[in-house]
Amino acid sequence: MKCQILQCKTILALFLIIPLFGQPKLTVGVGLGFYEPAMAGFDDNDLVAFPTGNVINRNLLFNFSFFYEFFHNARVGYNVLSSYDIGRLEGFETSKPVFYRTINYRMIPLETFFRLKPKVELNFTLTPIWGRGKITLETKPSSSEDGVGHTITDDWNELLNGFGDEDALTQVASANGMRSDWLGFSGMIGYRYYMKPWLALEFKAGFLNNNYDKDSWRFQGKKVKGPEMTIDKIPIFSFKVVYALK
């Protein structure tokens, strides 16, 4: 069927004309960040043997970003840098719970930029940070026949004791984690090289300033102590691939 209806062309023209009136430029970016926090609460813990720290679970941040260019020289978006750690906790009385640790640095950056050359861009970013740390234990309930063995509550109490929290928990629901939120801000300067008009590589350098407090963790509605981490005022470098959707 060969369609030659005028309507057909009108619809096609409509699709083509609509972006003329507003040309939002949407970009998504995926990449990696590098920083060097001091995580004494995990690395120098005498009571709990946390998974050994390495570059991936200490220094590497997985980065995802989404930006909207609202002006020729400015864009606003959402950027998240995440650090993950997973492993079995050794040294507990009878069980070996699986430990998950996530730290997310969520940002709503406002970025201004200009092009040095047609393919080279310099950008300047300032952003508030809403950081969130989360620790989860995947543990089994008592497996002993009389039901007197090691319980989830015991595992959590051992973990919290490891962070210096002596206030014992009485009962813990099976699936739950402790979390902490904090605020901060970050500043970065970036260099972007466009390989194609819609594809670029970006390198950024700057700092993260987090108001993290180890005493403000929450676990099932109760305030508990968390790990000691030095994540305030740390330099950060990131490298990402940016793809312009539009």
Binding site: C3, C8, Q23, H72, K117, G187, P197, A205, P235, K246
Partner: protein
């Protein structure tokens, strides 16, 4: 339900019509290529992008490499023209960020705890 079927048939007809156009004629003269030449690839709507990439690939294969390259060069130049200078508050903002980051790094290397 009846309306939905009619709309679906209509949409299928439209896309079939688009496919026929692409297959029959020279891909380099596709309306999407003409549009991209005039307004840039970023001016295309999201739903047109996959088709644009398909058509531009076909155009390249048929010897229209120069056309596609020109679209890219125009795109670079257009973006460069738009944002080669900072205007309004953006330069002040950029300067503030530079100063903050500069002093942060100075402090990092000079201040001892």
């Amino acid at each position: 339900m009846k309306r939905l079927i009619i709309i679906l048939i209509f949409i299928a007809g439209v896309s079939l019509c688009q496919n026929i156009d692409t297959n029959d004629s020279n891909p380099c003269s596709d309306p999407l290529i003409s549009f991209a030449r005039k307004f840039g690839v970023k001016g295309l709507s999201l739903k047109d992008l996959p088709r644009y990439y398909k058509v531009s690939k076909a155009c390249k294969e048929q010897g229209g490499e120069a056309i596609i390259d020109q679209i890219q060069i125009n795109e670079y130049n257009r973006d460069f023209e738009n944002s080669k200078f900072m205007s309004g508050w953006t330069s002040t903002y950029g300067m503030c960020v530079s100063v903050i980051v500069f002093f942060y790094f100075i402090g990092l290397f000079t201040v001892k705890k």
